[in-house]
Subunit: 459 residues, 2 copies
């Protein structure tokens, strides 16, 4: 690779890798820290993941806990869990202590019960209690995304008390970022929120109850989409989370919501290819192979069902062998058209622009695109078949089959994700296989039955 | 639909739709506002998008500008542009005035030059200048994501001046959310940043230069991934953006970065199905059909190339017509295996866990999964072919072909996105078609050439 290449990192990684290895071998903690400090967090994580698991353990054993925690924080959750579960309890506790409580809960919630208990037993009692509480909420809910730490006061407190706490350096304000001071009543229910402006323009002796306004809160069980709607509606950076009895249990931040939406989008991208467990290549080969196979072997069955249609027309195929050339083409083209419709519906679902109730409207919109594209593609492929095989009727059969199947494919592709969602199924995982099987069967049937009907004019 | 259904919105939308239509017909502004206020922003937008363009124009003409701006803000950019460009200049200016400067620039940047100039001419001079400046930056850069409004002071200013500005209600602090006070030197370069704690613990007469610390800044041309690394490294909610000469030109917020990453992820999901222009179903049918066709018609050509392989073996096909049943199956199964590898690479690219330089390592990891899955799938499909057609050699041919093609497919699927990225191409758009064409050709070739070689034992 040329030395004048504009991206210098193209020349360096092997070098960095070797130098990290040397630092590990020499047990050179400062050297290792210094090397990693030259990289961005994501580059540092990427380098570390290239080492074998045992070497990774060594690295995390050597690093200062706060640096190790930054790396764990940067890692996707499944990697974070994999890294932590291999560490000694002592090292793991030191690192986990440095994480925000929501990340602590994400990691500890995925560990085996035994590992989790071993770590929780060594943690600060209050922190351990917070984590146990956070773990009990589902991932995609306000409770699962919140942090336990809230910047709270009581109704009788004064402006001066808030300012003193803000000014003191006894507390670590890092976890509170973006939070306003929340005022709780005697039952720990949030009854007020105070703006910085109100604090600065009031007397120090003023009671908070006199300057507070009613807070927006969200239930701990609220799903991600409700949370997203709330943050769209209000410009707050954090929203207090309450239990069914109104008690404050934590605060969910705008960025935790944003990150959860991004993770869902990326996870959906994998699910659409049948990858349910959020695969990363640092996971063991056999696990990766097994997860992928689970879906691929189902797919064989679906393919066999579609192939039965071809098998039923073997006589027609024998008579017009040229048809065999066009079967995979019609199947592939229809699949592509249908998947375009799936992709648009998935995006509109994620943006909240369609709901299952809109299935008919979506179908109408898809069908009109399908008719246009079906006619255009049908004419194109029909001409190709005519010219290639010198038979106009064959061209007509292939063209008409693709045109009809395109309309069918976009209709199914547009509507199936909505129907799956309506019946509580995951549209990201199931839309593709359903679509492909139906359009394959229909495509094969259309081509072969039309060809059978016009057999005398084609042979 | 049953009245006891747990999701009440299932019964209402038709109702809401009719009531909105009635409010428009009666020119009942308050009624319309009240109706929309009962919905979340995304539901309100969804309802409005179900109306024909002319009715939508009426709605935006009737709504108060701040409410309309909230809806424009919630809409994906392409919809926002479509809505704004249909409005009268007066209405459009009122609404645009209410948007944050980054959204103003996103919308105005996409309008025709004529429309954009008409709106800019009517805007506040300073705001118009800000928008002109913001529009000049590329979408995926710090400059393209920043807002022009910054909460700035100069070196000689005192703590008291900051507190007075925070306390005064002359300024709208909404755009500043999450920003710290930035201190500029005489050349408008950010030289310091002040924490709230420092403000509260210092005398009102203290100079800011005495309590400020060095700010983290980012260049206006910095790409999204660099910005994401910065926000991963530091917990700030905003980072000041500087030009090449060091001058402050705006502030980019963590949530603008998060949203841009999400948009890129969702846009990539569409691109992988050949949808480059971020389609939504409220766009005109002909535009949607044309955009989809652009890719589908390329796909026909790729399919024809693959079909040529089948055509070359027509004699073998005539001799063993049963092969025609298995060709689409091998092609589909290999495509699925390859797309799984593409999806994992795309995710790792987006998380920064792989770079183009890692192509060989990725290939080695994919190949090992490919060998396992190839053997398993090959045996499965081989058994199916053997039992179905009663010919063990045919089963062997199909099985071996699928096994080899699976290894090829995952190798290509894992590596191609990295190579495309290495050569400056968009992996999201081009990986799928390249993969499918190569695996189709290879799959057809493997099945048909093996079958030709073993012809005497199969027929």
């Amino acid at each position: 690779m040329s030395q004048t290449h504009p991206e210098p990192e193209f020349d360096e990684p092997g070098d960095i890798h070797d130098r990290i290895r040397d630092a590990i071998a020499a047990d050179d903690v400062d050297g290792l820290e210094a090397l990693l400090a030259t990289l961005t967090l994501s580059d540092a994580l990427r380098e570390i993941l290239q080492f074998a698991p045992k070497e990774r353990d060594r690295i995390f054993g050597m690093l200062h806990a706060d640096r190790a925690a930054e790396l764990i924080n940067e890692a996707p959750n499944e990697i974070a869990v994999e890294l932590v579960e291999r560490l000694s309890v002592g090292t793991a506790v030191d690192i986990i202590d440095e994480l925000d409580s929501d990340v602590q809960a994400d990691v500890i919630g995925e560990l085996s019960d035994e590992d989790a208990e071993a770590i929780l037993a060594e943690m600060d009692e209050q922190d351990a209690a917070d984590v146990r509480r956070l773990v009990s909420y589902d991932d995609g809910t306000a409770g699962g995304l919140m942090i336990a730490e809230a910047f709270t006061f009581h109704e009788g407190d004064t402006v001066g008390q808030v300012l003193r706490r803000l000014a003191s350096d006894e507390e670590d304000f890092e976890p509170y970022r973006g939070q306003h001071p929340y005022i709780l009543d005697a039952e720990e229910r949030p009854v007020g929120v105070v703006s910085l402006r109100a604090l600065l323009t009031s007397k120090r002796s003023a009671a908070l109850s006199g300057i507070m306004s009613t807070p927006v809160t969200v239930g701990a069980q609220a799903p991600l989409d409700e949370l997203r709607d709330l943050f769209d509606k209000y410009s707050y950076l954090g929203i207090p989370v309450v239990e069914a009895d109104g008690r404050l249990v934590g605060v969910v931040s705008r960025s935790a919501m944003d990150e959860a939406v991004l993770e869902r989008s990326e996870s959906d991208g994998l699910k659409r290819q049948g990858l349910v467990g959020d695969e990363l290549r640092s996971q063991p080969t056999v696990l990766r192979a097994r997860r992928r196979l689970a879906w691929l072997s189902t797919n064989i069955v679906l393919n066999i069902i579609a192939a039965c249609v071809i098998s039923a027309y073997e006589e027609t195929l024998t008579a017009i062998i040229a048809i065999a050339i066009f079967l995979p083409m019609v199947s592939d083209m229809s699949g592509c058209s249908g998947n375009q419709a799936v992709a648009v519906t998935m995006r509109e679902l994620s943006l909240g622009l369609v709901k299952p109730i809109d299935a008919f409207r979506v179908w109408a919109k898809e069908a009109s695109v399908g008719v246009i594209n079906g006619i255009v593609l049908g004419i194109l492929i029909g001409l190709v078949a005519w010219i290639w095989k010198g038979n106009a009727v064959l061209g007509g059969v292939i063209g008409v089959a693709l045109a009809l199947n395109t309309v069918l494919a976009v209709s199914i592709g547009g509507v199936v994700p909505l129907l799956l969602k309506r019946f509580g199924q995951d549209p990201a995982a199931a839309s593709g296989p359903l679509l492909t099987t139906i359009t394959d069967m229909a495509g094969f049937f259309l081509v072969l039955s039309l060809a059978s009907a016009f057999l005398p004019w084609i042979v």
